[in-house]
């Protein structure tokens, strides 16, 4: 695999390969929805994972995520894909316990490369306290890897993406700009140190952030991935019947992404995200175009977007700052004309 670049084998990288939110809702429209009082979270609210109540103390969290390579190192790709898949359980406030591999391979890949992808996934799952107990691998025209993850959460402590309340403060735990920087990297513009930094960020579990947030009065949570910050904010705002106000000056992003965005190093997914948000979002004229591009940028293995009671927001931020570059990026208000307002 040394002479073949993994990212060259895929048309779309990482979460940028995700079908757009607008298209997805059309695809799901009209499918039979089976009511089951034990199904606490289904796909009616575009949430991160399904949650099924087992008893009064325990609910099952089930999710699946996979994508084509976002990096060339197969071991790192395995780690990132696993961290990204497991994140959906953390975003529901849960703890991952069991996982299954989902993988596609192509003939050009060596056995060592495939093994390294799996090793990365196993190591990351182990770090998360989950066991990979099997999986399914098929041949395809491009490589893909991810996990189906099962976790547990207390039924009264489920954090959906539709519980945000007016007055809440919004915290984002990982800086934005991953899609733009990986696009710029394909153009050979990104220094090695920055590549190493974002690779490390993508492979980082949201575990500690989840462990921090469950200690506070958090009303809603999701992870920011392919639909971008604004896309995920639209879902949270509409699901919560509220408006999300983002403060452009407070948003955490990799500064280099601003320059790359202004050079046109923007992945196709960002434009899909912009289309999805059109009509639901109001962006102040004072927000620069490259900064808005960053807010529409698809993130791979992005951070948690946490809607927390204002009284707890500074305490939670202080805890998160011990191990992340988290920031307070906005607040929730009563539902206005738009789902998301950026100032």
């Amino acid at each position: 695999m040394d002479n073949i670049k993994l990212t060259k084998l895929a048309a779309c990288a990482g979460c940028g390969a995700k079908v757009g939110a607008g298209t997805l809702s059309q695809l799901l429209d009209g499918l039979p929805v089976i009511k089951d009082e034990k199904l606490l979270v289904g796909f009616d609210k575009s949430d991160d994972a399904a949650v099924y109540k087992i008893n009064d103390d325990m609910a099952l969290v089930q999710t699946l995520d996979f994508f084509p390579p976002i990096v060339d190192d197969p071991w790192l790709f395995g780690q990132i894909a696993a961290a990204n898949a497991i994140s959906d359980v953390y975003a529901m406030g849960g703890e991952p316990k069991l996982a299954l591999n989902i993988m596609t391979v192509i003939e050009a890949m060596t056995r060592e490369a495939i093994h390294e992808i799996l090793r990365g996934g196993y190591e990351k799952a182990f770090e998360a306290g989950a066991i990979i107990s099997g999986g399914h691998t098929i041949n395809d025209t491009e490589p893909k890897y991810g996990l189906s993850v099962t976790g547990f959460v207390h039924p009264k402590k489920i954090l959906t993406n539709s519980g945000a309340r007016p007055g809440d403060v919004l915290i984002l735990t990982k800086p934005l700009g991953i899609g733009i920087i990986t696009t710029a990297a394909k153009a050979g513009l990104v220094p090695e140190a920055l590549t190493a930094k974002i690779n490390q960020q993508m492979a980082e579990l949201n575990r500690k952030s989840r462990d921090n947030m469950v200690n506070y009065e958090v009303h809603s949570c999701t992870d920011v991935t392919g639909f971008s910050l604004i896309g995920h904010c639209c879902e949270m705002a509409e699901g919560s019947n509220a408006t999300i106000n983002l403060m452009a000056a407070g948003i955490n992003y990799h500064k280099e992404a601003l320059e790359y965005a202004s050079m046109g190093m923007i992945p196709a997914g960002a434009y899909k995200n912009r289309d999805f948000a059109e009509g639901r979002t109001e962006i102040s004229a004072s927000v620069s175009l490259p900064l808005a591009d960053i807010m529409f940028d698809p993130q791979t293995s992005g951070g948690l977007l946490i809607s927390v009671a204002e009284k707890d927001s500074q305490h939670l931020l202080n805890d998160l700052l011990h191990h992340t570059d988290a920031a307070i990026i906005g607040y929730v208000s009563e539902a206005g004309e738009k789902a998301v307002v950026v100032k």
């Binding site: 048309a11 696009t183 710029a184 394909k186 153009a187 965005a261 202004s262 050079m263 046109g264 190093m265 923007i266 992945p267 196709a268 434009y271 175009l289 490259p290």
Partner: protein
């Protein structure tokens, strides 16, 4: 004329970047998708060029001229 048809980002931008290294004052670029159109537009503006474009049946024709 720079034809970026069939290429996915960031390659169309890289093609335009390379062409600009010739130092000419104006270019016409063809793109077959909106991402390439938007990205080339941003790149040209960033490099100090004026940009105008039109779309016809999914084919974008972009005119780039150095700001005087």
């Amino acid at each position: 004329m720079i034809d970026t048809s069939g290429l996915s980002c960031p390659e169309p931008v890289i093609m335009v970047k390379k062409a600009m290294e010739s130092g000419e004052d104006s270019y016409t670029v063809i793109a077959d998708n909106r991402t390439a159109f938007e990205n080339i537009t941003r790149f040209a503006a960033h490099q100090g060029f004026g940009v105008s474009g039109e779309e016809n049946d999914g084919v974008y024709t972009i005119r780039i001229e150095r700001n005087k």
